[in-house]
């Protein structure tokens, strides 16, 4: 009945770490937390993991299993095949303390910012009267066990340290909704939700609802109704703009980029950076503007700065490192830098990103490009195919198709290379890599293999 499972567990602290492989016994009916406990008892006594009840009621053992935010105690081993590698990594949105334990103090800070229940004036304790149908709406949100998986998965903060200040996150949107819908709460929370807690930054992708172990309909029952109430009771563009002034230039840069005007975007971003050289949003916008113009060397200067200023969040640092490696590789591919001179930096940055990554595959595309610029075409093809299995956004998919197209052409498979390139261009016609890639493919096609 028992078998040996292959586990990969992230071990490390806030400065360094990586995935470690284990072979560990699994018995019938066990959950991932049982296996982690067995590792502690038999192989790694100091492996840090947070847990309390082991019954899905306290929300302590949150982590990522094969890249998915989950409770370790509610993930049964029977959901995996015996051959499948189970990768367990810490929550990505929060800084690592040690191994699977992260610093979730962000959430307690946000809790402090939500004004408490305001009891009705003149109603003594014991005299509260509420109908069951009226309390049920708020009761749904009070099922929350504060596992913070919704906070972990939310893209607004998952890889964007700079958004954390202005954004309370789904856990606190349901808290706000709960209070707003409480039959006897005497405070109006709608304006605050938008102005102080960043409700407007949520673009209702429902990722939070998907990961909620309590099945709370965070988006449909809390966030959307709150957004509607906010719109009903206030829409004051002046107030809205006022709250955004510090980030206005960075946003203008993004808007310019969206409309295809990379030069204007660059100017907006640089103007913001003159006031605050480490502004993460503006650095991001400048990086995008330079990449869009194919100026990869300058882009890599920006990504280097971004990496230096990345906060403590593992996700943000991992992303900064990955971006920097990518920018340098693009510069190398386009012949804008001398690969030999920069290869140590590229390799080190890539390793740093890899150590911080939730799962091994997320950087497959970057590894593929690294192989490509070194002329290791078979590896480049293999890694870009792996990357394509995981890619979600159009642009990363388009990018990995470019790498695959070059690798395949170099390997002599010109038709498949051309078709990958064509698919890439439909996804992202303005890909700044496309031009140099085309000329590389042309040269490779001319050389007999």
């Amino acid at each position: 009945m028992g078998y040996k499972a292959r586990f990969r567990v992230w071990r490390g602290d806030d400065t360094d770490g990586g995935l470690e492989d284990f072979s560990v016994e699994v018995n019938e009916g066990e959950v991932v937390l049982d296996v982690i406990h067995r590792l502690q008892a038999t192989q790694t006594p100091d492996l840090a993991v947070r847990w309390n009840c082991k019954a899905g009621k306290c929300g302590s053992c949150s982590a990522e299993i094969n890249g998915q935010p989950r409770l370790l105690c509610m993930t049964r081993m029977s959901t995996f095949t015996e051959e499948q590698v189970v990768t367990v990594t810490p929550l990505r949105t929060f800084p690592v303390i040690k191994d699977l334990v992260t610093d979730v103090s962000f959430n307690y800070q946000k809790a402090l910012e939500v004004p408490a229940f305001a009891p009705p004036v003149g109603v003594a304790p014991g005299e509260y009267r509420m109908q069951q149908t009226d309390v049920e709406r708020s009761q749904e949100f009070r099922k929350c066990i504060e596992c913070f998986l919704c906070q972990d998965t939310c893209h607004v903060i998952r890889d964007h340290e700079d958004n954390k200040e202005a954004f309370a996150g789904p856990r606190f949107f349901i808290r706000l909704a709960e209070l707003d819908m409480h039959p006897l709460d005497s405070m109006d929370r709608k304006r605050r939700s938008q102005e102080q807690h960043g409700l407007g930054m949520c673009n209702i992708t429902k990722c939070c609802t998907e990961v909620c172990p309590e099945g709370i309909k965070i988006t449909d029952n809390a966030i959307i109704p709150m957004k509607e109430r906010v719109v009903d009771t206030m829409y004051d563009p002046v107030v809205w703009l006022g709250s955004r002034i510090p980030r206005r230039s960075a946003m203008a840069a993004n808007r310019a980029l969206d409309s295809g005007d990379a030069a204007a975007a660059e100017e907006h971003a640089r103007s913001r950076l003159r006031d605050k050289p480490s502004d993460a949003a503006a650095l991001g916008a400048l990086q995008d503007a330079l990449v869009a113009q194919g100026r990869f060397v300058e882009a890599s200067d920006v990504t280097r700065t971004k990496l230096e200023h990345a906060g403590r969040g593992r996700g943000a640092r991992q992303r900064a490192a990955a971006d920097h490696a990518w920018a340098l590789l693009c510069a190398a591919e386009a012949g804008q830098i001398d690969l030999d001179r920069y290869d140590d930096e590229i390799t080190a940055t890539l390793q740093q990103a890899q150590r911080l990554a939730s799962i091994g595959t997320v950087l497959a595309g970057t590894h593929a490009l690294h192989h490509l610029v070194h002329g290791r075409l078979a590896e480049a093809a293999e890694h870009s195919r792996e990357a394509l299995r995981w890619d979600r956004s159009r642009q990363t998919r388009a990018d990995d198709l470019v790498t695959l197209a070059e690798a395949l052409t170099g390997l002599g498979n010109r038709p498949e290379g051309e078709s990958a390139m064509a698919e890439s261009l439909t996804l992202w016609p303005a890909n700044p890599r496309a031009e140099s890639a085309r000329s590389n493919m042309h040269e490779m096609g001319l050389q007999p293999r």
């Binding site: 018995n27 009916g29 959950v31 008892a41 009840c53 082991k54 402090l112 408490a116 009267r129 009070r142």
Partner: protein
């Protein structure tokens, strides 16, 4: 030598469950600078796992309910070993404490007329448990947590610092209490502990400490308790010279999950039975009718028909025997399994599927539905659950003054599960959450008044004691590495489960005591790997020393009490004894072990005695004791 962090407070509360948070709220409201020190994150305490509800005689569902009825039920449940004054205060004050939660923002389920709804539970004569589905403990923790946040928001406004008056030290474990004298004398002067995140030692200088650390279940293999339940408060109190009583009384909840093995022990709420669930054996028989003891014969139904009639018409039918107090039901299940009428995985069947429509089950018992679906692949709206006894609660704890929560050590207070006396030999379901609120508040108040009376003359912290506390906590790193804390823990759990479990006998308890001696000497050779930063092996090594002391208390007291009562069943002394009812067993430290002494139970005053009829009292008490009742009364 590493740095030691220092803080100064008026009141330090150890533990952030229901009792600790309520104590801290009270101390802060009394104007005392208060620290809450807890082993886990804020809001994760074991209280979140309480499912059924908080018992309080509000009379919202049945207007005949009042504090006297609740008091009677509590004393009966505890088989008259309870401290009468605690049971009295508890029954009188529980309604106010529950209503107060509403003013902090709690949202209980409602009656049709908009009041707090109340549900039936084992041993309670009327529907009495304020609840929120089957997640009442979570509601309580979140409410108290949010009340503390609201106090911090007030402090932010008035002091410019949210933590000026009340601060939570999360993931911090207290390893020693400090006094201005030795173990047998002196007053509390503070506490020493370490922070998990960085391994830093912390000293709290404070004249008053409230212990609210919960229970001891992690010394047993099959338990519903979370990892924190290692008897820390019990052990800290003993080491500081306080006394523990009733330690032989350990509640085995009748219904824990039994399959799959890895979740064995996880609680299945009593609400399943309160809402109509029944227990059956492998022969499909509702066996509880065969297990109604003489003392309860009058209150429980004798036929299935009468029992089923009770849910809708409690006036003309008696209660179903599935709703007997927990000790009775747990023993009954144990016997059925022993006699070969158990379920395939070694429990019995708990059936709600054939009793309620699927929708009603999902509505009333959402966590249970979810728990069985996720962990056992069982749909409880379609099939019965398999359940069996699981170590759930310790009735024993720090001996306290009922009104103030003060222990025998000046400055040391205790509340909630780590205190003793309130529940006697067996706790009724629902009486824990209300206990936490009533006595949490009282301990916070008692501590504040004690600090007030001390004035400026605060007991001093001895640097030597701080240093020695630190050395003791670090000792596992110097061990020769011969012993693994996880292995010793597993051996301890097996020993307590097998030899001092639900049914006990002399030879087995003696065997347990000799194994405990071995475990104690093995524990001295524990070697811990790694450093002090969030190192679970080290944390367990420290917790183990507490579990070993507490387990010894349980075993020694269990050996001495030669009767069966509530959470203490002796195979070799199966009857309840009038003489033993008058006795508390009190544990004190002696050398590196435990001494147990007999101590007379406080006598119930005539006005409370006269709430019962003489017939019933005579089942528990000697004629001598009853002679104080006025002639002709009841």
């Amino acid at each position: 030598m590493s740095e030691i962090e220092r803080h100064r407070y008026d009141v330090v509360v150890i533990g952030a469950g229901g009792a600790g948070l309520r104590a801290a709220i009270e101390a802060r409201m009394q104007g005392k600078r208060t620290a809450i020190v807890c082993k886990s994150l804020f809001g994760k305490a074991h209280t979140v796992m309480a499912e059924g509800g908080a018992a309080a005689a509000m009379g919202n569902v049945n207007p005949n309910d009042n504090w006297q009825v609740h008091f009677r039920d509590t004393m009966r449940g505890g088989k008259f070993l309870n401290h009468w004054r605690m049971a009295e205060l508890h029954a009188k004050e529980a309604p106010d404490r529950v209503w107060e939660l509403e003013s902090y923002g709690a949202l209980f389920d409602r009656t049709k007329d908009g009041k707090i709804s109340q549900r039936n539970f084992g041993g309670h004569e009327y529907p009495r448990l304020a609840h929120v589905g089957d997640r009442t403990g979570l509601e309580m923790i979140r409410t108290l947590q949010q009340k503390i946040v609201s106090l911090q928001q007030e402090d932010q406004r008035s002091h410019g610092d949210a933590q000026a008056m009340i601060r939570v030290f999360a993931e911090t474990t207290i390893t020693s209490l400090l006094k201005d004298g030795d173990q047998s004398s002196g007053r509390i002067s503070g506490a020493v502990g370490y922070t998990r995140e960085n391994g830093t030692f912390v000293v709290f200088e404070a004249p008053a400490v409230v212990l609210a650390t919960g229970g001891i279940g992690k010394s047993f293999k099959v338990t519903s308790n979370s990892w924190e339940y290692t008897g820390d408060g019990h052990a800290l109190a003993m080491k500081a010279g306080a006394t523990l009583l009733n330690m032989e009384f350990v509640q085995f909840h009748p219904t824990g999950m039994v399959w799959p093995p890895s979740v064995k022990g996880i609680l299945v709420t009593e609400s399943v039975r309160g809402d109509g669930g029944v227990l059956r054996n492998s022969e499909d028989k509702r066996f509880m009718f065969d297990y109604v003891p003489a003392v309860f014969r009058k209150q429980y139904a004798e036929t299935e028909e009468e029992a089923d009639g009770w849910y809708d018409d409690p006036g003309s039918n008696r209660r179903p025997p599935e709703l007997l107090p927990r000790d009775e039901v747990a023993r009954a299940i144990n016997s059925e399994v022993k006699e070969g009428r158990g379920s395939p995985s070694g429990g019995v069947f708990l059936d709600i599927a054939s009793r309620l429509p699927a929708d009603a089950i999902r509505k009333k018992l959402p966590s249970m539905y979810h728990q069985f679906k996720e962990l056992a692949d069982v749909d409880i709206t379609k099939e019965p659950m398999e359940v069996g006894p699981t170590c759930h609660y310790v009735m024993g704890g720090v001996e306290v003054d009922p009104d103030t929560g003060a222990s025998v050590v000046p400055g040391l207070f205790a509340a909630g599960e780590c205190s003793g006396g309130m529940h006697g030999s067996n706790r009724l379901g629902g009486n824990s959450l209300s206990d936490l609120l009533v006595f949490g508040r009282r301990a916070g108040l008692g501590a504040s008044q004690y600090v007030e009376a001390l004035g400026a003359a605060r007991p001093a912290v001895s640097e030597r004691d701080v240093e020695s506390a630190r050395r003791t906590a670090e000792a596992p790193f110097d061990g020769d590495g011969g012993e693994n804390p996880y292995t010793i823990h597993a051996d301890l759990q097996q020993t307590m489960n097998d030899l001092v479990g639900i049914i006990r006998k002399r030879e087995e308890i003696e065997e347990a005591l000799s194994r405990l001696e071995e475990l104690k000497s093995r524990a001295k050779r524990i070697g811990v790997q790694g450093d002090k930063i969030f190192n679970p092996g080290w944390h367990l090594a420290i917790d183990l020393s507490n579990m070993l002391i507490v387990s010894e208390c349980v075993a020694r007291a269990a050996l001495i009490r030669e009767e069966s009562r509530g959470g203490h069943t002796r195979d070799d002394f199966p009857d309840m004894s009038d003489e033993w009812r008058k006795v508390n067993l009190v544990c004190r430290p002696e050398g590196d072990g435990v001494r147990v002494d007999k101590q007379p139970l406080s006598t119930m005053p005539p006005e409370l005695l006269s709430l019962f009829d003489r017939d019933e009292l005579s089942k528990y008490m000697t004629e001598d004791e009853l002679s104080i009742l006025p002639e002709g009364k009841a």
